[in-house]
């Protein structure tokens, strides 16, 4: 929304929450950053990665899942855009879509875990299995938390709590959701592709 708005008190308060959220996500990024650091350290010390004899990870289903999560993020963005235009019913619809896509992601993730587990790779198989299950599980926890938050926002949206003058309670969870999505893209690329 490229248009210039005057900084009303509400807008200034909103700005404060956005700064707070950005700092919080910065802290979160450091946490995930440390996990990637650990992963990079593990890989750089390994003679071969993946180690010999370890089953290969699938690529097709995780790729599809990445698309699902990206779509969920997109749905959330469209919901926020609708709210800014004052279309409150559309907001609820997009939020429901975002939550549904997020849940689909989790369900498919469970399928991936099950397949990989069945193929013989387990957390206790050593560093490789630890990294795979550890990173994806910590991310999945964030997705689950995100879905709960979206459902909460959805309920409040259905109750008509949000107007185009009060978008912050939708925008802040959105920032978190996009962040979780971005982390997943990094994980997908570094765990499955590289």
């Amino acid at each position: 929304m490229g248009d210039v708005v005057e900084l009303r008190p509400r807008a200034r308060e909103d700005f404060t929450s956005v700064i707070g959220m950005m700092i919080a996500l910065g802290a979160w990024a450091m946490m995930f950053g440390a996990l990637f650091f650990m992963y990079a350290g593990m890989r750089s010390h390994a003679l071969m990665w993946p180690p010999p004899g370890v089953p290969r990870l699938p690529i097709g289903l995780p790729a599809l899942n990445t698309a699902v999560l990206l779509a969920s993020s997109g749905a959330f963005s469209l919901g926020l855009r609708s709210l800014r235009k004052g279309e409150r019913r559309a907001l609820s619809a997009w939020l429901a879509a975002a939550a549904a896509l997020g849940t689909t992601f989790l369900a498919l993730q469970v399928v991936v875990w099950r397949d990989v587990w069945a193929s013989g790779l387990q957390p206790s198989t050593g560093a490789y299995g630890s990294v795979f299950y550890g990173l994806t599980a910590l991310h999945a926890v964030h997705v689950a938390a995100g879905i709960l938050v979206i459902l909460l926002v959805l309920v409040r949206s259905l109750l008509g709590k949000y107007t185009e003058h009060n978008v912050m309670p939708v925008r802040l969870p959105g920032m978190f959701w996009h962040f979780v999505d971005a982390v997943w893209v990094l994980m997908f690329v570094s765990l499955y592709l590289l």
């Binding site: 200034r12 707070g20 910065g26 440390a34 650091f37 180690p51 050593g126 560093a127 490789y128 550890g134």
Partner: protein
């Protein structure tokens, strides 16, 4: 920017328990922190007892908690004791007292805000901390003993192999939980200072205390998550059977790497030492100026020095790992960056000395503690040079010298700084005066015995005594150090006993201290000049407009016009004509604090 005024809660539970008032939360952190300080101190006394009289019954505490061995400390109990002592002192005593209590109390009051930016988050931060405290206590009650892998929690010691049972797991989770609390607090501090400074409170008019707290909050938000990650991965190793840090025969060739934990730990761990000292530097910078009745010497220099230390602290962690087979070139880089920290540290130090130079020193209790901090920090900083240098560190690493060094900087300096703050802001917090004479006894006892205890450790380490030994004197080359250790222990017991004077003073003053004036120290910052003692619920009825920095002292023209030697941060001050007469001041550059 103006914050709206929340209605004051009336019910006890919202007023004192789940309060969103930063002043109440500050007191909650203070009390919890002091309790843990007592607990951590008791554990320290037990370590010192073991080193003075190995394997004999510990008086009092032994009868209470170690009855199954007749009161003596066994090797597993001993490892638990020094592990829990370190973790408790760092995360559950100094952090909550210095950052939780005084960060919360001072930031809104000193910048002219009505509360933190996110008061509810502030409340969650305390209760998260409380939850982590419960986990600490649970660790003590666990069947196989409390955590025992050292405060650094290195694997393989901290894996299920090295430390079986729930004690270590509880502590890993507790570290994670207290980390979350710290991050929540940090977000609040950063945003509050950015957004809620009173009109006219520019960045270079902020008291140094606020700069210290703000920079610490930034380091917390950046690096505590890294510790959180490490604690989380360790917990997964312990609970979910992963092998991030488990290597060797137990897992075969595809095991994890315990060294990675050390990296993650010290990426956090080095900033942590500055996290615990930056607020102290800020507080001491202010208090030295206030009680010398002089402007803080080269205020901007101190600010930039603190910023420089904050930045450098992020890139020196390797100096904790010289002994781990690190590439020599990398070690050299870490060595140079580490020694580079001396430059801003010396800037701060020289500024402190110049601040008190030729000042009219008022040696009241907060000032004494601030001067004590300058002394022990100087000693601690100088001994650190030998550890930052690889060639000397190789000899001194893992000796008592390291223990003496980091206790002087992290423990003694933070301890004296915290007590400087406590004696200074106590009248504002509780609206009561503390007994100054008891305070002085507390100070002299603390500073003398601290020097003896940690000085004794430096000497023992330099003579070759390894740290953490259960029974050092079983080695012939250490045996002759037994008398030194015993005397060090006596000093430690005296240090512990001295703290009882504080306990008496603190409780007595809260219950029946004399009522404090609004500005008993006659200083210039907002919390003293524009808030009652204790402040009202929303701090300021009208948020004042600030016109100058926090260190406006010793101007003869001000003395002539107002009959006192300082200007507060708000009052109009001298007219333009009168201001010219201040041109003959001894330190004109320091007056440019605005």
């Amino acid at each position: 920017m103006e914050q709206h005024i929340h209605p004051e809660p009336k019910a006890f539970i919202w007023k004192y328990v789940f309060s969103i008032d930063h002043k109440v939360i500050a007191k909650q952190f203070l009390w919890t922190g002091l309790m843990f300080l007592a607990l951590g101190g008791t554990l320290a006394m037990m370590i010192r007892w073991q080193w003075a009289y190995p394997k004999t019954a510990v008086p009092v505490v032994g009868a209470l908690f170690l009855s199954h061995t007749g009161g003596a400390i066994t090797p597993p109990t001993y490892t638990s004791i020094f592990t829990m002592h370190g973790l408790i002192m760092i995360f559950w005593a100094i952090t909550p007292i210095l950052i939780g209590a005084f960060g919360n109390f001072c930031i809104p009051l000193m910048i002219g805000a009505r509360d933190m930016a996110f008061p509810k988050l502030n409340m969650y931060s305390y209760w998260m901390f409380f939850a982590s405290s419960v986990l600490v206590i649970l660790s003590f009650t666990s069947q196989l003993g409390a955590a025992s892998a050292g405060w650094t929690t290195y694997p393989p010691l901290s894996t299920n192999v090295g430390a079986p049972g729930w004690g270590q797991t509880y502590m890993a989770l507790a570290i994670f939980a207290t980390g979350v609390s710290t991050i929540m607090g940090g977000i609040n501090y950063i945003v509050t200072v950015i957004r809620y400074r009173a009109p006219g409170m520019t960045w270079f008019r902020l008291p140094l205390t606020i700069w210290g707290m703000w920079l610490t909050a930034i380091l917390n938000v950046l690096f505590v998550p890294v510790l959180g990650s490490a604690a989380l991965l360790l917990s997964l190793d312990r609970l979910a059977g992963t092998h991030f840090f488990v290597a060797g025969a137990a897992v075969g060739i595809q095991g994890g790497d315990p060294m990675l934990f050390q990296h993650l730990f010290w990426i956090f761990g080095h900033p942590e030492v500055y996290i615990l000292i930056l607020p102290v530097w800020g507080i001491v910078g202010d208090i030295l100026s206030f009680f010398s009745r002089k402007p803080a010497f080269w205020y901007k220099g101190s600010v930039f020095a603190m910023i420089a230390v904050t930045v450098l602290s992020a890139v020196v962690y390797g100096h904790h790992m010289y002994q781990t087979g690190m590439a020599p070139l990398l070690g050299l880089g870490f060595e140079m960056l580490t020694l580079a920290i001396s430059v801003p540290a010396v800037v701060l130090f020289v500024n402190w000395l110049n601040t008190i130079w030729k000042g009219s020193l008022r040696l009241e209790v907060p000032m004494l503690f601030a001067l004590g901090m300058v002394f022990v920090f100087g000693a601690g900083g100088l001994t650190g040079l030998l550890l930052g240098t690889i060639s000397t560190d190789i000899y001194l690493h893992d000796t008592m010298y390291v223990v003496g060094h980091f206790h002087l900087t992290m423990a003694a300096a933070s301890f004296l700084g915290s007590f400087s703050a406590l004696y200074f802001w106590f009248p504002k917090m509780y609206g009561k005066q503390m007994d100054q004479n008891l305070g002085k006894v507390h100070f002299w006892g603390s500073v003398v015995f601290i020097t003896l205890v940690f000085g004794g450790q430096l000497v023992a380490g330099y003579s070759g005594q390894h740290r953490r030994l259960f029974e050092p004197y079983q080695y012939t080359y250490i045996r002759h150090l037994a008398p030194l250790n015993r005397w060090t222990s006596f000093a430690a017991f005296a240090l512990g006993a001295t703290q009882l004077i504080f306990v008496v003073n603190f409780i007595k003053s809260i219950l029946m201290g004399k009522k404090a004036e609004q500005n008993p120290w006659h200083v210039s910052t907002l919390e003293w000049t524009h808030c009652a003692s204790p402040p009202i619920y929303h701090n300021f009825d009208i948020v004042p407009t600030v016109v100058r920095g926090a260190h406006e002292y010793a101007d003869p023209a001000v003395k002539k016009k107002f009959g006192r030697d300082y200007l507060d941060q708000v009052e109009p001050g001298l007219s333009a004509v009168d201001e010219d007469s201040s041109a003959g001041m001894p330190e004109p550059e320091a007056i440019g604090a605005e």
